[in-house]
Amino acid sequence: AQSVAQPEDQVNVAEGNPLTVKCTYSVSGNPYLFWYVQYPNRGLQFLLKYITGDNLVKGSYGFEAEFNKSQTSFHLKKPSALVSDSALYFCVFSPLAGAGSYQLTFGKGTKLSVIP
């Protein structure tokens, strides 16, 4: 079955340090991958997505993600963490075009805590 996995339930990082939130995928063919963020008791916000082309994708709020086909990973990164980055992060994939192409499959989420 096609899926994405977020191996860490929680990531703690000190403010000002670089952060990485990990995601690996198990998808046949070329996946379409997204990152979303959810602040407490709020809806999800789109950060970035990878469809094709440059493996380094830049998104909102200074986040970026690198698509690595050999490692089947799509890790989310930011050079310098802010306390306001503390939230729940979801790695998401969308299947190829066709039936169900608009159905997103969500990872379990990783809670990021940035410590002042």
């Binding site: 379409y32 997204f34 979303y36 008791n41 709020r42 809806g43 999800l44 916000q45 789109f46 997505k49 469809i51 729940l88 979801f90 969308s94 190829l96 075009a97 192409s101 608009y102 159905q103 997103l104 969500f106 990872g107 379990k108 989420g109």
Partner: protein, 114 residues
């Protein structure tokens, strides 16, 4: 710009009571619309999606139903709520591009069934 609204923001209902949650989108036409449920603050489960007025697809069989009476209005309903219906309900929309469409989410409704 496009905005998506959901109401109510929070709702506490007794078991066996009916439910109606509403979602509306502004600033776009003929969007795809989606209902998700999020349990325990973690992964999202797609419940329903719609590609047009009156066109509803159900992903998970349960005692919930959805309707789309207008182009930019999506309603989630139940005739009799169960305890297991408690959760955070999110509505989302996307343009109908067909491939890797970005979905944009509303603020959500927190439903507690007692």
């Amino acid at each position: 710009s496009q905005t998506i609204h959901q109401w109510p923001a929070t709702l506490v209902q007794p078991v066996g009571s009916p439910l109606s949650l509403e979602c509306t989108v502004e600033g776009t036409s003929n969007p795809n619309l989606y209902w998700y449920r999020q349990a325990a603050g973690r992964g999202l489960q797609l419940l329903f999606y719609s590609v047009g007025i009156g066109q509803i697809s159900s992903e998970v069989p349960q005692n919930l139903s959805a309707s789309r009476p207008q182009d930019r209005q999506f309603i989630l309903s139940s005739k009799k709520l169960l305890l297991s219906d408690s959760g955070f309900y999110l509505c989302a929309w996307s343009v109908q591009a067909g491939v890797a469409d970005t979905q944009y989410f509303g603020p959500g409704t927190r439903l507690t069934v007692l």
